[in-house]
């Protein structure tokens, strides 16, 4: 068998083209020069040059989450790979399909502490779904295909392929074609029909059911979000969502109770606490959702749909586990449920809704806006109002602004909301917005930022300008690492140790320095104007929105409390929870 010979670098590029890759986010260096040379020779794949490798991974995540396609990253050995680690860990915790190609020193130098050598597969073993060190150019093509299969199937996640420089240069005629059949890895997508039947039986007897949905619905794809809408509307039951799941169900629908968890709504957390049957769809009972575990929804029967069996019974015991892909399972479930309703009639949840409406009346997101200081909630409400008719995508950084964004922005569709949920990575939002904008060049892409977080990947202004990306950075500038300050207020006697954002840059001048546009706003009456100016300006814009410095994000389930023990805005007197300081 003597086909045409290709270099390892060409094999990688050809495999990526075969796999439908259109964009790579990367940064060059010695150990990937052959690959960059191969990129130079072709025009099928676009390379986006970031300013820091961490940003390359976040951009790939933004690209992936907003399109449903995997994101691809290319970085050099040693520092290139180690800089990517935070991004990989972020993708791991939020189950985002990312393929990260890393250069490595030549095979004969591995293990010798060569220049820019790092044990990349060793370092990334814990923060990837899987990783490969390819020592043989003959299996390179097959490995790239396998990496894509592993990253995108089952529970998605990041995969690293570490390619020594000589393997990029050696030639081979072995090229992989067609489907990957992995020897040991074969994720299940169909759920066990008997378990689904049992779930329907439980649900058809429920008087106070609730859907608790998460990022798994979005990862499963548009069909899952569609089926979720159908099944929720067919049953008439309430639904709440995790941070990662927002948009899978339309926020404007009256059955939607808003986000649940530490900064979730009063109605969502109470309904979760009081329900008699909980159906968890593609969520994982994260500690930000459950609060104190032994007090989590104590009287409910629990059904859990998850593609990852290890997520089931990990922290919360469930009664009906269903391992499978959300769309497949919901499809079967909807059929069985319809049949059950034909037979036994539909349960009425009227009493349940009466109760839920009472919780809703607490109006837990209430805040008061004065004439002279902008409340962060107000700024977000205006942002929501003025962008709702637009084709808009939101990303966030991490902190109070992120939680307010989750509370006040209203997502009607999946894939429109990109945030770092599991890892909580400051510096995620701006590069993620770059990835989103690359995938959706004509859409409005807004990074809701904090003045501290935005500085963690601020160098990406260069990337945005280079590629003419009109990303909008909307900074809720409270001059504090607000979320840290809030915890210090609650758990550490208001001793604001190192949480003041001192020596802030002039964000307007900074935007200008790179070639963008800056807007500063500090009066409530000017907020609308600033937002309109931001949207009407072509190209990159930073809005420095000066907000109330000491606002706290409520409702809040303090760390260590039960999930129905929320602090609400009007009870501003802050209770300290015993042991709260020791918890995360």
């Amino acid at each position: 068998m003597s086909g045409k010979e290709y270099s390892g670098a060409e094999i990688i590029i050809n495999s990526l083209v075969d796999l439908g890759v259109e964009v790579i986010f990367g940064y060059p260096g010695g150990a990937v020069l052959p690959l960059y040379d191969a990129l130079f020779e072709q025009d099928k794949i676009r390379h986006i040059l970031v300013r820091h490798e961490q940003a390359a991974v976040h951009a790939a995540e933004g690209y992936a989450r907003s399109t449903g396609k995997p994101g691809v990253v290319l970085v050099t050995s040693g520092p290139g790979a180690t800089n990517a680690v935070t991004g990989l860990t972020d993708a791991m915790l939020d189950s985002i399909p990312v393929i990260c190609l890393t250069g490595q020193v030549p095979v004969h130098l591995i293990g010798s502490d060569a220049f820019q050598e790092a044990d990349t597969v060793g370092i990334t073993r814990h923060c990837t779904k899987h990783n490969y060190l390819v020592r043989d150019v003959d299996i390179l093509s097959q490995t790239i295909h396998e990496a894509f299969y592993v990253a995108t199937s089952g529970r998605p996640g990041p995969v690293v392929v570490d390619v020594p420089k000589d393997v990029q240069i050696f030639t081979s005629s072995t090229v992989h074609k067609g489907q990957v059949k992995h020897r040991s890895y074969r994720p299940e997508v169909k759920g066990d029909i008997n378990a689904i039947r049992e779930a329907v039986k439980l649900l058809s007897g429920a008087k106070k059911p609730i859907f608790y949905t998460g990022g798994g619905v979005i990862n499963s794809g548009p069909a899952a979000a569609q089926l979720l809408r159908e099944i929720v509307q067919f049953t008439g039951a309430p639904i709440t969502s995790t941070l990662m799941g927002l948009g899978a169900y339309p926020a404007s629908d009256k059955q939607f109770l808003g986000m649940l968890g530490m900064h979730g709504t009063y109605e969502a957390n109470h309904a979760m606490y009081d329900c008699d049957v909980m159906i968890c769809v593609g969520a994982r009972f994260d500690d930000r959702v459950t609060g104190r575990l032994d007090a989590f929804s104590p009287n409910s029967k629990k059904i859990h749909i998850d593609i990852d069996r290890s997520s089931i019974n990990k922290t919360v015991r469930v009664d009906v586990p269903i391992v499978g892909d959300v769309a497949h399972v919901l499809e079967d479930m909807l059929k069985l449920w319809k049949a059950s309703v034909l037979e036994k009639g539909q349960q009425s949840y009227d009493d349940w809704w009466v109760q839920i409406e009472k919780w809703r009346e607490r109006d837990c997101l209430k805040y008061s806006q004065s004439d002279d200081v902008i409340m962060p909630q107000y700024a977000l409400e205006r942002l929501q109002e003025l962008t709702k008719e637009k084709d808009v995508y939101f990303t966030t950084e991490v902190g109070q602004h992120q939680m307010w964004a989750a509370q006040f922005l209203k997502f009607e569709d999946p894939n429109r909301w990109m945030t770092s949920g599991g890892l909580g990575t400051m510096g995620y939002g701006f590069p993620a917005a770059i990835g989103v904008q690359i995938a959706h060049p004509n859409s409005l892409v807004i990074d809701v930022a904090g003045e501290a977080s935005i500085q963690m990947n601020i160098q990406e202004l260069g990337t945005a300008i280079q590629y003419g990306l009109p990303v909008k950075i909307f900074i809720l500038n409270n001059e504090y690492m607000g979320m840290v300050r809030q915890w210090q207020e609650m758990n550490h006697g208001s001793r604001y140790s190192q949480s003041y954002s001192d020596s802030l840059p002039d964000f307007i001048a900074l935007a200008k320095a790179y070639g963008g546009h800056g807007i500063v706003v500090d009066k409530p009456g000017d907020v609308d104007g600033a937002i309109k100016e931001m949207m009407e300006t072509d190209g990159l814009v930073i809005v420095d929105c000066r907000v109330e410095k000491l606002a706290n994000c409520f409702p809040m389930v303090p760390s260590g409390a039960a999930h129905n023990e929320m602090i609400l805005p009007e009870e501003e007197e802050i209770r300290e929870f015993e042991g709260g300081a020791a918890l995360v």
Partner: protein, 174 residues
């Protein structure tokens, strides 16, 4: 009002059999999972088990509550190069053996004692000098422990154990 209906779970010893692709780093993945998630490893054995050497079998003895044991199995199953995971302790009757080499320093009447104990345990002498023996003994963990314990009184110098190898009883594979 606090609800404290925490089930009191008792930790028990479980033996896992794991069939893996014999690729670089696979053992690090399995061990890393145990250390990263705070599970403990009491015994670990690993070697290729097919003629081509493409598959290895890892046996791990661990302790955990039923909840932890269920998680260990699910987490192992999720690793990409893992073909099959079996909890032998949960799946019924199975055989467990380990092999140990035990070096004993002894003279005169202690020598007689060493030989007597070795005979009772069906240990083989695999090395001897004027004043020492190395015994090879196989059996269940309890037996190996008992043997080492007795040899302490005789003059134990050092011991090495392979860790547990285990298979389910009957005709079926894992």
């Amino acid at each position: 009002m606090y609800h404290t209906h925490k089930e009191i779970e008792i930790a028990a010893r479980h033996t896992f059999s794991i069939i893996v692709d014999n690729e670089a780093g696979v053992l690090a993945r399995v061990i890393g999972l145990f250390s990263g998630r705070g599970y403990n490893i009491e015994h670990l054995t690993v070697a290729p088990v097919d003629l081509q050497g493409s598959e290895s079998r890892i046996t791990v003895v661990t302790t955990g509550t039923p909840h932890v044991i269920e998680q260990i199995q699910a987490q192992l199953d999720r690793l990409v190069p893992v073909h099959k995971v079996g909890d032998l302790t949960a799946s019924g009757p199975h055989i467990e053996r380990e092999l140990a080499l035990i070096k004993v320093h002894c003279q005169n009447e202690k020598q007689q004692a060493a030989l007597r104990i070795a005979e009772a345990f069906r240990a083989k002498i695999v090395d001897s000098s004027f004043e020492s023996y190395i015994f090879e003994v196989t059996g269940k963990t309890d037996k190996i422990r008992a043997f080492i314990r007795l040899m302490e009184d005789v003059g134990l110098v050092e011991a090495v154990r392979t860790g547990v190898a285990a298979l389910t009883r009957g005709a079926q594979p894992l």
